[in-house]
Amino acid sequence: MKRILLVLMLLLPAVAFGSDLSKAFYDGVSQYEAGHYDEALDSFLTLSGQGIENGKLAYNIGNTFMQKGDLGHALLWYDRAHRLMPKDPDLIFNRNVALSEVKDRQEDLENPVLSVLFFWKKGLPLKTLQWLAIGSGGLFWVLLALTIFWRRPPLKNATLLCGAFFALFAATALWDTAVATRVQKGVVLPAAVSVRSGLSDTATELFTLHAGSRVIVEQARSGWVRIAFSEGKIGWVKKETVGVI
């Protein structure tokens, strides 16, 4: 009996914590629906500030920024949501609405040779690719074990085929995971930002980017970050003008 009470006492804070989070979430929803976007944003950002990474939460934050007319932050949160739930139809729709308002025409930074070789993974989000690699890997090891104990030719062929798929999926998913971890993608937050040749406001203005334009964040130094917008268009902007996805 004492043990049960002890377990219940340990669980109680977790339940209370969960209900607090839910309350903050639903407070944000009702404030949003009442048109109090600043308060709604506070509620949602409080949840995010507690380390919760969730696609739906990020989507709601993106929506709130959209209602406030802050395109840069809206796209930043939509992109964060897209990492977590890339196939969500509501997110795809709202993100496209936001992207249609971006002034700068996005240029592709991807290597053309790689994009031709890996055309098949265009529609596959990283999450799907990872689970395909894990699934094909599990199947491959089972088939290999069966082949070793029952030396049957059809089993051997199936193992080879499965092994080929496993190698392809695993290599691609590993590469994409490494890229997603190492390469920092960012979104321009203010309505317009001057990209300069150096780390000061007096450095030559190379070009101007507008809210919602997506960039690669290459390096950070003394409150400035070096960004790459497209091939040949790189420069320095203040750190607070770019949100890292």
Binding site: L21, V29, N54, I134
Partner: protein, 579 residues
């Protein structure tokens, strides 16, 4: 006396040198010293030496256009002289008395200067003492039109002289939509007792925005025949070679035209304004007055008139419920006339009534702005009635259509277009506060490596398990397999005995705990006795060896029953070994 002679000599020398400068110098000649605004004069700068370089001074009151260089050679009294002529066209920019300053003509480093020339420029309207036989004008049909109203800009060249190579430079018409009205026209007219040839070019202009608009001057470059030069006074010679026209190149410019474009007045009617400006009429007709339900009937709306009819959109039709309508591409019969665009535009709409009964198509209203009355005008078409009859066949067709999702009978489908743009609402699922981080590299590697690790653990365990078996145990496993194979080969003669021998060797090896090769009857007895077997069992095994050797070396074959017995003996032996 000597002194007088030297003075006379110096004077003579000076006189000689002065005539030499006059002979090898530069001159400026103009075709007229008096002209009106809009006309031009030709300035010839002549030099009596090769490769002259004319340094034309800045002239604020004239626009100067170079027109090329020519040269001619003369031989007089055996002396050859050369004259190089540079031609310039000067267009005055304002009225007044002006001077063409002395022009420097360079012969290498040496400079010659022409004499200054005085020019008088009169206003356009001034009567010319010279009575120039040409004139250019530009007019607009309406200097204060409304936005969208058609106006005609007319350029007119009036001349009593013959001319060649006329080239018109039209202005840019900024702020207008411009269209050339035909190829222009030429006619003759007697003005003040003198016959003039008149050439007209018309441009249709539609102002695009309200406010003051200016049309820049047009310019006409033309070569006017001013006389005729004869090669000689010999009429026979002239008849043979003919005579040559003397041309004078002219640059004639019109005045600019200023306009004040008025905005359209505020419209406050109920029916929507069509955006048309001009004079229009609308008629509506229906193809037939009676139609079966589901069958199409064509409604034709014809818009006719003068103005920006090309921009006319299909008038709005508000059909009663239970009717579908599909618009067709409008048919245009519009031409550019002397007063601008005019003609008719026909809009055809296929109407499909879905229910039987009498259907009234409400009148269609067209609203346009009429600049002549300065008001918005509207016209309503007459209401149209269609009697819709029952259509049994169509109902059956509809039933058939609905049963097959892939069929495409009936009316063409239209692409659904977005009417507005807004974002979709929030997500309200409770799991929105659950932490769901994306799979990082370490977690992914763990998932990827998990099955591999499991596989390696199992393989390692199996290997360990196999490695721990004793020689006897391994031979016992082998013996079981060999006996099974011998049992399968009972009906196959030599193969059976080969398998039986292998099985026997394996069984003896399993009993002895070591591999047995080349065994004899004595070996078998010793092994069986060694493991505590009975002498009878040993003998049965020896009998198996004997029968194998008899079959292999003597060819003696046993019945299948006997073979099976031998196999059973070995199986029994294995059981005993296991026990």
């Amino acid at each position: 006396m000597k002194r007088m002679l030297s003075i006379l000599g110096m004077v003579l020398l000076c006189g000689l040198s002065a005539s030499a400068v006059c002979a090898e110098g530069a001159r400026a000649v103009v075709d007229t010293t008096r002209l009106r605004l809009g006309e031009s004069l030709t300035l010839r700068v002549m030099a009596d030496f090769d490769d002259p370089r004319v340094e034309m001074p800045e002239m604020a009151n004239f626009r100067v256009s170079p027109r090329g260089t020519s040269s001619r050679m003369q031989i007089i009294n055996g002396r050859t002289t050369r004259e190089v002529e540079s031609l310039y066209l000067l267009v005055p920019l304002q009225a007044g008395e002006f001077v063409i300053p002395a022009i420097a003509v360079m012969d290498g480093r040496k400079a010659y200067h022409t004499q200054p020339v005085s020019i008088r420029v009169d206003e356009r309207s001034a009567s010319s003492s010279v009575d120039q036989p040409w004139r250019v004008t530009a007019d607009i049909s309406n200097p204060s039109p409304y936005v969208g109203e058609q106006v005609v800009w007319t350029f007119r060249f009036q001349t009593a002289a013959r001319f060649q190579n006329a080239r018109l430079g039209k202005p840019a018409f900024d702020g207008f939509s411009a269209e050339e009205l035909g190829e222009g026209r030429a006619f003759e007219q007697v003005i003040n007792g003198r016959r003039y040839a008149i050439h007209e070019v018309n441009e249709l202009l539609i102002p695009q925005k309200p406010g003051p608009l200016a049309i820049a001057p047009a310019s006409l470059s033309v070569a006017i025949v001013t006389g005729r030069s004869r090669r000689s006074s010999d009429p026979v010679f002239d008849d043979f070679f003919g005579s040559r026209n003397v041309m004078e190149q002219k640059q004639l410019t019109t005045e600019g035209v200023a306009m004040e474009v008025k905005p359209l007045p505020v419209y406050s009617g109920d029916a929507p304004f069509s955006g048309l400006v001009g004079t229009f009429s609308l008629t509506a007709s229906i193809e037939k007055e009676s139609v079966k339900a589901g069958d199409p009937v064509t409604l034709t709306l014809t818009l006719e008139g003068r103005g920006n009819i090309r921009d006319a959109a299909a008038p709005q039709i508000s059909l009663p419920e239970g009717m579908k309508h599909y618009g067709d591409t409008p048919v245009e019969e519009i031409a550019l006339g002397p007063e601008g665009w005019q003609g008719k535009k026909t809009f055809k709409t296929a109407i499909v009534p879905l229910k039987a009964g009498t259907v009234e198509i409400p009148p269609v209203t067209l609203v346009w702005f009429d600049p002549s009355t300065k008001t918005y005008r509207s016209q309503r078409s007459a209401p149209l009635r269609v009697e819709v009859l029952e259509n049994k066949a169509a109902e059956q067709v509809e039933v058939f259509q609905s049963s097959g999702p892939g069929t495409t009978f009936g009316l063409a489908k239209k692409e659904v277009r977005l009417k507005g743009q807004d974002i979709l609402p929030l997500k309200m699922d409770a799991d929105a506060v659950r932490h769901e981080a994306p799979m990082g590299m370490s977690r992914f590697l763990a998932w990827l490596g998990g099955p591999l690790g499991l596989f390696l653990v199992i393989a390692f365990a199996l290997k360990r398990l196999t490695r721990d078996l004793s020689v006897g145990q391994k031979l016992a496993r082998k013996a079981i397999l060999q006996v099974k194979e011998a049992e399968k080969a009972v009906g196959e003669g030599e193969l059976f005995y080969a398998k039986l021998h292998s099985a026997l060797a394996a069984v003896m090896g399993a009993l002895a705990g070591r591999p047995v090769e080349g065994m004899t009857g004595e070996d078998i007895r010793r092994i069986v006795a060694g493991v505590g077997g009975t002498a009878e069992a040993a003998e049965r095994c020896v009998a198996i060896l004997d029968s194998v050797e008899a079959a292999r070396y003597g060819g003696g074959a046993e019945s299948e029953g006997r073979r099976k017995e031998k196999v059973q003996t070995l199986i029994q032996m294995m059981k005993e070994v296991k026990a």
